[in-house]
């Protein structure tokens, strides 16, 4: 097998204003294996929200980066993340998706562990020598576990920077996207766990791609929005382009977003009084300037390498590859704790009108990404995906700066770089102007 040369995979030509990705980056087993070591084992990965562990001894099982783990809340309320594997022979100790358990007993040889991970029992422990210390045989903690405002992340890299440092300049936007209800958010019951038969990086691109909306999601704008009695022109203007006034933003080190004026959804008419009350409360709680940033803009925020927050639908979505052409996707709604049952119901309706494997938009994204992956099968070593839109100018609504920002960080990490990456376009360097 030839060694991976990212200079062959990503063409970032500032002078000509061209950005191309060789399609083998989406199909190669070797690239996939390198990504696991160089990216998924060296980043912070979202595993869930603390509200999913409502009581002492609650637990959930998750697969960040494809590695099975369990997250437990102990009797004192502290949260832990462990590899979901018995320290004896490796059988999974938590076998349900979620639940409540004071003790996890591995059924294979009946070793049992408490919610702090300690080995508290094993049949016939007189068989072991003095060299065997039960204290060494507790569940293996995931190397790093931190939360930011209830959002739980793990890292398999012991040496990684702390989570707040990692989020960097994206952190302020995370705050904006959690503060919209003027209260802490919680994960609503009901997860969306699905798969896409496509490379995970296609979903990174798709999740912050305003260019595809007018064509792929025409039915949402042209049929659903009018069917709800609303004017679609603020979504898709006269030029047929979606998201006028939006732009892509490089937030550094692979984090990126698209952002623009908030657009009307059927939610606005669903609970106008309560929403107006919440909006007024934001001014009081955060001051007018910050409240304006929180409430009057919408964003699709990407936290490198695999987390998306979308403000229209208040979703949090993460995904991880199990093969070059297969990813698993986990998505939830994060909604304010204190809102009324009526508003909660309206927000759920709004989420489902667009998002999820049975929504009125996501299935078309799934179809597009799977179609790309099938298309890649023809000569992936010799064909390229083009991500050059807007490379010679400050980013506009349908430009692709935000995707290039991801790919620049991707390339640096696949090359083994661990320091910061300059992910910006530098349009001043482009010599061939439009």
């Amino acid at each position: 097998m030839p060694e991976i040369k990212t200079s062959n995979l990503v063409i970032d030509d500032h002078e000509r204003g061209l950005f191309r990705v060789r399609r083998s980056a989406f199909t190669s087993q070797e690239v996939f294996e390198r990504e696991r070591d160089a990216i998924f084992d060296r980043t912070w990965l979202y595993v869930g929200h603390e509200s999913e562990l409502p009581a002492p001894h609650s637990y959930v099982t998750r697969k960040p980066g494809g590695r099975p783990i369990m997250v437990t809340r102990d009797g004192e309320g502290k949260i832990h993340a462990f590899l979901n594997a018995c320290t004896h022979r490796g059988n999974q100790v938590a076998r349900e998706r979620s639940g409540t358990a004071r003790v996890f007993t591995c059924f294979y040889h009946a070793w049992s562990f408490d919610t702090k991970g300690a080995l508290i029992g094993l049949p016939g422990d007189d068989a072991y020598t003095a060299g065997f210390d039960k204290k060494d045989m507790g569940l293996v903690a995931v190397p790093r576990f931190e939360s930011y405002r209830g959002m739980m992340f793990v890292s398999f890299d012991k040496e990684i920077v702390d989570l707040v440092t990692y989020l960097g300049s994206a952190r302020e936007t995370v705050d904006h996207m959690l503060d919209f209800g003027g209260d802490d958010v919680e994960a609503v019951e009901g997860a969306q766990n699905y798969a896409i038969k496509a490379n995970w990086k296609l979903l990174v691109e798709n999740s912050m791609d305003a260019y595809h909306a007018a064509s792929t999601h025409a039915r949402y704008f042209r049929e659903y929005i009018p069917a709800m009695g609303m004017d679609p022109s603020s979504w898709v203007g006269a030029n047929g382009q979606a998201f006028a006034g939006w732009r892509g933003v490089d937030l550094g080190n692979g984090h990126a977003m698209i952002e623009g004026p908030a657009l009307p959804t059927p939610l606005d008419a669903g609970a106008p009084e309560e929403l107006a009350r919440i909006r007024a409360n934001l001014d009081v709680k955060f001051g007018k300037e910050r409240a304006h940033k929180i409430a009057d803009y919408s964003r699709n925020l990407f936290i490198y390498p695999n987390l998306i927050l979308i403000s229209f639908w208040r979703t949090v979505r993460t995904f991880y590859p199990l093969a070059p052409d297969y990813m698993e996707v986990d998505a939830w709604a994060l909604l304010p704790r204190s809102e009324s049952e009526h508003l909660r119901q309206k927000r759920i309706e709004n989420f489902l009108s667009f998002l999820g494997p049975a929504g009125l938009a996501t299935p078309d994204d799934v179809a597009a990404l799977e179609g790309c992956q099938r298309g890649f099968q023809a000569l992936p070593d010799r064909t390229f995906s083009d991500i050059s839109r807007g490379m010679g100018r400050a980013a506009l609504n349908t430009d692709e700066l935000q995707m290039r920002a991801f790919w620049r960080r991707w390339r640096a990490m696949v090359d083994g770089e661990t320091g910061p990456t300059d992910c910006s376009d530098h349009p001043e360097r482009v010599k061939v102007q439009a």
């Binding site: 998706r97 979620s98 609503v188 019951e189 009901g190 997860a191 969306q192 766990n193 699905y194 798969a195 896409i196 038969k197 792929t216 025409a218 039915r219 042209r222 049929e223 659903y224 069917a227 709800m228 297969y326 698993e328 939830w332 709604a333 049952e341 909660r344 119901q345 759920i348 309706e349 989420f351 489902l352 009108s353 999820g356 494997p357 049975a358 009125l360 996501t362 299935p363 078309d364 799934v366 179809a367 597009a368 799977e370 099938r374």
Partner: protein, 162 residues
């Protein structure tokens, strides 16, 4: 026509319904819904959840369902263009009891779906609330398809009427 809904009534109604769906006769199918009806598919990890509080896969009121059907009959539902071939087996019909002027019924289903060289199987149980309209015909007040799948993997999407 008797107001009572028998197991035989349920079987005829649901088998005829399945034929409409497999033939993509969706406007005819839509006429089987009562006014103010709901079309529900619960979250796979909360199959007994309440659609008002839980994030389902689908919780359509009639306004949304009509739009969903209109979209499915157009050409811009890329997930169903080309349209899936589906074949559904519906069986194990039971009448569970009355709820007000409606009757709760259940049946098992398995739907095979073929599209673009992929095969996906959707297995589960219907739990519908049926009523008779003014003319005595059966109508769905609540049409709920509860999937037994633990996740939508590898399916990825549920883009036809289940």
């Amino acid at each position: 026509m008797s107001a009572i809904i028998t197991r035989q009534d349920v079987e005829e109604f649901l088998v005829d319904e399945a034929a409409l769906l497999d033939a993509w006769q969706l406007q005819d199918w839509l006429r089987l819904m009562a006014e103010e009806a709901h079309y529900l598919v619960p979250a796979l990890d909360k199959p007994a959840g309440d659609w008002r509080k839980t994030l389902f896969l689908i919780s359509d009121d009639m306004k949304t369902l009509r739009s969903r059907v209109t979209q499915l009959q157009g050409r811009t539902v890329w997930a169903e263009n080309p349209k899936s071939r589906t074949r559904r087996l519906v069986s194990n019909f039971r009448v569970l009891g009355t709820e007000g002027d409606c009757t709760r019924v259940t049946a098992n289903f398995a739907v095979w779906r073929y599209q673009l060289d992929a095969t996906d199987v959707y297995v589960g149980r219907y739990e519908h609330l049926l009523r008779r309209d003014a003319a005595g015909a059966l109508r769905f007040q609540e049409r709920k398809a509860i999937l037994d799948l633990e996740t939508l993997r590898p399916h990825g999407k549920l883009s036809f009427i289940l």
